[in-house]
Symmetry: C2
Subunit: 442 residues, 2 copies
Amino acid sequence: MYSKNISELLAKINANYGDFIKIEKSGRHYEGILMPPPEIGDSDAIIIKLKNGYNIGVSYDASMAVSLIEKSKWKKKETKVKLNFDKKKSDVALISTGGTITSKVDYETGGVSSLMKAEELISLVPEIVEWANLEIVTPFSRMSESISPKDWQQLAKATFKELKKRDAIIITHGTDTLHYTAAALSFMIRNLNKPIILTAAQRSSDRGSTDAALNLLCSSIAASKLDIAEVSICMHANISDDFCYLLRGTKVRKMHSSARNAFRPINTLPIAEVWPDGKINILSDYKKSSDLEAKLDNKYEEKVALVKIYPGINSDVLDYYIDRGYKGLILEAFGLGHVPTETREKKHSLYNSIKMAIERGIFVGFAAQTLYGSLNPYVYSSGRKMLDLGVVYLKDMLPEVALVKLGWVLAHSKNIEETKALMLKNIAGEFNDKITAEQFLY
Amino acid sequence: MYSKNISELLAKINANYGDFIKIEKSGRHYEGILMPPPEIGDSDAIIIKLKNGYNIGVSYDASMAVSLIEKSKWKKKETKVKLNFDKKKSDVALISTGGTITSKVDYETGGVSSLMKAEELISLVPEIVEWANLEIVTPFSRMSESISPKDWQQLAKATFKELKKRDAIIITHGTDTLHYTAAALSFMIRNLNKPIILTAAQRSSDRGSTDAALNLLCSSIAASKLDIAEVSICMHANISDDFCYLLRGTKVRKMHSSARNAFRPINTLPIAEVWPDGKINILSDYKKSSDLEAKLDNKYEEKVALVKIYPGINSDVLDYYIDRGYKGLILEAFGLGHVPTETREKKHSLYNSIKMAIERGIFVGFAAQTLYGSLNPYVYSSGRKMLDLGVVYLKDMLPEVALVKLGWVLAHSKNIEETKALMLKNIAGEFNDKITAEQFLY
């Protein structure tokens, strides 16, 4: 609820949510669309949506003045898309799971939420049907921050089902954990023989600056034209609206909270540039489509954790996972793969806890906190010490990918030796032995 | 120890550690310096240091052949540096704390370890004394992965003591946690009136590709020439050996495990380019030196933790910190500041645990897992929900810096309101309100 002061101010000018208003306070002006207050508690700030699409809160002040510029013209749109099947085009399933790409601002309830039906997506970018026959499937709808391994399993199953009938798959998803899901699908569908392309939007589809249209269009082009048999992410390459990158699902990370070009390749190059006019420029090797028969293999062990190491971390934290019966841990280690071991105080050394975890049969793998570059246990004595304990150095695999892979591997291996071997085997392009300087901060 | 097979192979050619040898196996050749085996356990791989400075292990094979190319010429060098005091130059304390920059390979014990005395550093880069009168101080020597908050406190104290007598301070340190220490000093020394420059090396000083010399030289130039009153990091700007960047101590991160240009500015530009010929190009605003009287303020609350959030994280993990009496938590959240709240299973929702933590007076702050970009709780309803609970959105502050700052703030605030206010106050340049596209992946 808005506080009493604010409610009175707004009542005076008869403002409703969605109206365009002006706030004057301490010599500054703010203009934007009046948004509803937060759902819980009292808000002593007026929340407005600025022209750039962001919301701000202007806190109450006795000297503040509010005026109405324009009443809301917003209303729910009816959308109807007619899809004609065209035998000459690829058959693509568009699997919609929620996220910003299927969101718009609802001025009645406030904020952005998943409202848009996938059909509306197509009305947003009618060009996509020029490239493919699209059928929409919605296994579930969930903002991506709340997606968990069981959702990955369900999505893998739904994707696998469509794979059998279609030429390619496009999945729409929230951006927050898009790269985790891309990694999960990379492992959960074996012998992949067709493109699976995940796409998303950083700005909701009703905003002028939305990236949804270009991302969807480029995804359709890649899905229908490229002979790729990998799980990949297709998103804006830069901050202009000119083309997208196709990025390997196991070598990609959301590196910016809001920019449209947030998804970047890590320790590799993009697979391709995809242009809205249909042009595709290949930038690196990829797995070609084949006659292999795809296999659903979505077993997953949930007792895995990712622990970021920092100076002063207490070794008790690792004991917590050991006591709780976790089967595997990925530690985000410093530099080439180091953790505190020769600390001033014993409680800050992780040596004994890692030793104990390994003695109990728990897999312990190190991944790079730096994100870029590869681990190497041989350079410093602290690295060799960890190797001797039985820690597995996961080279240039991203920590997030290492976590997802570990859950998958543990559900498939009979013993710790097999787990170690599978974690070091390049199953879905998660390792790159030839990292170049060009790939740093690409 | 090397395994029996390997020991026999090496004994046959009478090879000692440090000798240059050749290994032939399965049609491939490897040449390098024979290194001692790992300290613990049996090694069935011969470890050699390649010409590029990296160590590899070549695992035993019955068909393997080993030959001696050249006996070791390595011997410990005696170094003597004469330091003449020159009244016209700046007085700089070089505080040595260990790390690769003060390391070299010891072919008797194997691996890289902290052997070099700081005096030897100067013999490595004699040019640095052209810029400043250097006096060397060694409060402790520790590889940086094992540095903990008590080391930060001691270093702050040693630095403060030198600050009173000198014109500037240079600190040598390991790279792994250099950015954490830079953040700690940024908060622990108040009213800073002179430059404090941290520097390090990614490749040890006895390697051809070492970055130690340029980093030290540029640090001395910045320390003696620049009127800056900030804690900063001075390291290679790119992979050539041509110049360094001076980077704000609260806006910098080690972004690559091995590259010499691993330290990058995050959500800001470098403060300056520093060239070995003495040229300094200013790239952004900085705090100028002043007549303020610096103050040591190194109190620190160790009961703080950094928790990286991932899909499938169990809310029990947060309960562990609550039960253990932690005073503050930094959660590395997804996207604009989201964590799982509307999950398929309740155990994966963090809502109740965050609520409980806050009810018990524990500070909960969100920082960006994407590293680049700023948080914004107003865009999605899940953000506004967290804000309503009392979570503090730490804008564009790096998660690592947020952790360090939180330990410092909690030791200085009387209640949760003061903690929240201090965490959002820009104390040492940790926030940047005007992030530009140029600053992404700089």
